[in-house]
Assembly symmetry: C2
Homo-oligomer: 243 residues x 2
């Protein structure tokens, strides 16, 4: 099966959670918008899907996964679909729901991270909402981030008896990939604060390392296809917020 | 099967999306925190679940559905679980994913509605973030709300050939229930703006009416168990934002 991923070029964004799953799962895929426009890629390729009026079940926004003629959207939904097919989720119903539940909690977490720099939404540039960003970030770093990290560390601790460093059972799942990505993003956005925050979260630190040491993930990072974090992205580094 | 729902008392909140599904599906359930504390209800019942240290797969936050000894959390995840069991979702995989995709887009929408009054998050009272709320709401009402409503109206239009007023195929799904709830919430929060916004959205208006006219939903509303919208809730009415 050949997959086609539609996601905004130039950023990791929500697309990266899908890319990590495709890479770890050894899937064949085309990152459509990375292709030159002349070859059917770029932003126009995405707009074409979003603006098409002949799609019976249209997506609202990227990321969008095209499988044959089918279009599947919404990050956790795409991962739910890929999980079973790429061996990145348990096969029993309760295990699948638990993995998905974790993914939705990871979504809550990275949305709150996005809101630290864009509390007033995408409609205003960061520079237009700096005071609001400072206040939101203060609460996030003091209250919300510790709550999320404490929760995920506990999930890892509870799953320790299964032997692995993973969140669900004895095998890596897509939730582990997404969690490692969020940890990497937090470290980019808040290098100073996150150094302290991860000091007493040994299981999250270990999860990050073991994910990025996986042969296929390491190969993907080394390939140059994984973009660098940058300040147009979901995770952004503003030194004035990192305190 | 007897279900137990754990959700904060006194508000509809995210719990209401689950309640509407349980009611329409004719499920037997206990709304645990509505019970008096002396009978094991109230906020303490929720805290007991959140603070328990003997749960192998702990929830992060309500709503939480207890089924036998199982705990399932995250609103779209609970609906995914209930959808098949209560006849509120298609039985084929693609139909289930499409319904879930719509639910996740509805989630995006009601989160943005929540952010209109709490752009800086739960950590500050509305009164502490009024200027930020005004700016966020301005962008929401001008740009985001029309985008979401236009999308959902289009989904209904595309599904017209199936004969029903529904979003997915020929039968009501949990996404229809959630969509109707969001429409009701928008009308409560923004009575003036939403009157204009729904003027040219006949299919969304019809969906709202047909959902709240369903015998079981009408019975639920008439029972007094459905709480009134209020300003401690997800949808809040601040006249200064409704313009």
């Amino acid at each position: 099966m050949m997959y086609q991923l539609y996601y905004w070029p130039g950023i990791q964004g929500r697309g990266e959670f899908i890319r990590l799953a495709l890479e770890e799962g050894g899937a064949r895929y085309v990152d459509v918008a990375v292709l030159p426009e002349a070859k059917g890629g770029g932003v126009p390729a995405i707009l074409q899907v979003l603006e098409a009026r002949n799609i019976q079940r249209p997506p609202f926004a990227p990321p969008i996964l095209k499988v044959g003629a089918k279009l599947i959207a919404q990050t956790p939904n795409i991962l739910l679909y890929l999980g079973g097919r790429l061996g990145l989720a348990p096969t029993d119903e309760l295990g699948r729901l638990w993995t998905h539940q974790l993914q939705l909690t990871i979504l809550d977490f990275y949305l709150e991270i996005f809101h630290t720099h864009h509390p007033l939404g995408d409609g205003y540039a960061y520079e237009e909402q700096k005071p609001a960003a400072k206040r939101r970030t203060k609460d996030f770093l003091a209250v919300r981030m510790p709550k999320f990290l404490g929760y995920f560390e506990r999930v890892l601790e509870l799953n320790r008896a299964r032997g692995g460093p993973w969140m669900v059972g004895a095998r890596l799942s897509y939730a582990d990939l997404s969690m490692a990505q969020v940890i990497a993003g937090l470290r980019y956005a808040f290098p100073s604060v996150s150094r302290r925050a991860f000091r007493n979260r040994p299981r999250l630190r270990a999860l990050h390392d073991v994910v990025f040491d996986r042969p296929r993930i390491a190969h993907y990072v080394a390939s140059g296809r994984r973009l660098a974090f940058n300040n147009e992205d979901l995770f952004r580094h503003y030194p004035e917020l990192d305190r």
